[in-house]
Assembly symmetry: C2
Homo-oligomer: 357 residues x 2
């Protein structure tokens, strides 16, 4: 027995040299045996001896040395703006982690705060560590500009797009159709309003807060397409000029109701607006879903906060993360963005229109 048996959690690390010595073979032989390479035919008996020695010594190869030699680090970086923001979008991280774990790949998490200088510094740092690829993510589905340092490496965009770069985004257009169809199937038709359109004169440029032009445009597009296919159309849209939050949703719907309009259903650009709609309806003495049906987008934790629960078309964050990581590992080549379906999460906020019951 050699004196150096640090064991797991011990102080000094065992090296390949020590394993080879203990097994009575050369370092090359030990390396081949441990990596299961067959091109240098090592007798099974020898290989077994090496494996035993490694096991007895508690050997675990130094990844830093391996990386220096091979140039492959077995790591990937998730570069994003969104961890700095809040929300349940971190499910993307969870999804990516699921895929990567199966491939024994580790994840660096990095947060640029949307600051290009911070971003450049971090990207350089990561490249200096031989990361095998980048997942470039955005909190909101939008068009991004790829920083030069992220080019010339494996790169997959997560929840954002840029021409000629592989990307994974939610299928917002289908989501719009899903929302409209859910209402059509319940019997709604001519009094469906949309809450959360762009304010008049808004250019649609990728501004930096709650705005998510890509999502909104496509959702509305899908809604209108589905209604048109049924020979119907939106009764109207109510713009929201700043954040899509609860209070703005309440105010917008309150205005709508005060104007004398009596919608049969509200499609809200996100869940927070829909929750706000609940409040405005309650204040007006209207019940969800008996008097007015409501549907939101996102599938956020907020849907559980109201009674009845909010029906919502969910952002498939976890799946986005999983698919993007898989594409990265498999070396996806650029093409049209990969779109992930947005599932309908059933609550109790949709019923037949009041006048049809």
């Amino acid at each position: 027995m050699v004196s150096s048996d640090p064991g797991p959690g011990g102080t000094r690390r065992v090296t390949l040299t020590e394993v080879a010595r203990r097994a009575g073979v050369s370092r090359s032989a030990a390396s081949f045996a441990l990596n299961g390479r067959t091109d240098l035919r090592i007798s099974e008996e020898t290989a077994a001896r090496v494996r035993l020695a490694a096991e007895e010594l508690g050997y675990s190869p130094n990844t830093t040395a391996k990386t220096l030699r091979t140039g492959k680090s077995g790591t990937v970086a998730l570069v994003s703006d969104f961890i700095g923001t809040t929300s349940f979008a971190n499910a993307m991280v969870r999804g990516a982690l699921q895929t990567l774990r199966a491939e024994n790949t580790l994840l660096y998490t990095v947060d640029t705060q949307g600051d290009p200088e911070v971003e450049a510094t971090l990207l350089q740092n990561l490249r200096d560590r031989d990361v095998d690829g980048f997942l470039y993510a955005s909190m909101f589905t939008r068009e991004v500009e790829i920083p030069p340092l992220a080019r010339n490496t494996s790169l997959v965009l997560l929840n954002c797009v840029s021409s000629d770069v592989p990307a994974v985004i939610p299928d917002e257009r289908s989501a719009g159709q899903t929302a409209a169809s859910a209402l059509l199937e319940a019997g709604h038709r001519d009094d469906i309003w949309f809450i959360g359109s762009f304010p008049p004169g808004f250019t649609g440029a990728a501004a930096w807060n709650e705005w998510s032009p890509l999502a909104l445009t496509e959702r509305l597009d899908g809604i209108e397409a589905a209604l048109r296919a049924a020979g119907a159309a939106l009764a109207g849209t109510v713009p929201i000029d700043t954040d899509w939050d609860v209070e703005n949703g309440r105010a917008a719907v309150a205005r709508l109701l005060t104007s004398g309009t009596r919608p049969s259903a509200l499609i809200c650009a996100n869940d927070a607006l829909a929750i706000g709609a609940y409040h405005a309806l309650a204040e007006a003495g209207l019940k969800v879903p008996d008097d007015v049906s409501v549907i939101g987008f996102d599938g956020s934790p907020l849907i559980h906060a109201v009674l009845p629960r909010l029906t919502s078309v969910a952002l498939p964050y976890e799946e986005l993360g999983r698919v993007a990581a898989r594409m990265l590992l498999e070396g996806a080549s650029s093409s049209a963005p990969h779109r992930i379906p947005m599932p309908l999460v059933h609550g109790g906020s949709i019923a037949a229109p009041a006048d049809r019951r």
Copy 2:
């Protein structure tokens, strides 16, 4: 001009050897100059020449090689169960990132799913990469057992405790006092109920879901202490036997009200239960805060979902992350857990008791 100028984002990497050659010095001299070491007195003119060469070539040192040589990687790993769970607790990641960025340290994010085998594999993998330390985090404040592989390294516990290991946790006891004081100051006294106590016979062992024995015990303790100091006491507690979610909160408070009790205020073990309380109160025709005051714990995004907004004692996740990272970088030695204050987030759910207005 040498032909190899890949520039940022280029293909081949520039090495120190090339910088030294261009500057007309040895690799050692180049290394010293670039690292600003003064012990090997290099003329300022020479150093400037080296820096210029590095700049012109777009040199950036290979961190993998540096790590192999020095044994320090400039990375830290956040090992947790909670990314696999949901919620806004990922603010801990954000906080850690803030501290680490200032020290130019990168973060590995890892998710064990609470599976000891997965955990062991990941810890070994991280050690093989020469990580400088571990942040061991839990979704819920609780006592944890430190896996052997995480010992003998720099280690700070985040939102969990274990004897003899430095730890950062929320100050739950003070939070309880804060909640009780907010009600006392509004004039409540003898009809304050607590929603979300342990079910009868519950041992308090660290079970694995929404349970957070440490938090609950300490919060209740603080509440009772504050009431006692004012010569008052809780009117009663309502146990919740499974998850602290909206529906269970609603059901619990509905039961309480049906039993004929008329509380003046409810302290709910978390925000979701408090939201459920809102629903039960509304169903009983009671208004918040005019008829009943409500206060929750966590300061989660749910507080914005109700009208009036829920007043809550917030979990200081971001600060927890920041402080834990700082302790890790500064090499904190073990002692009593470091407790971070939980701030009161004012909503509109507390008012003077109905009988005193």
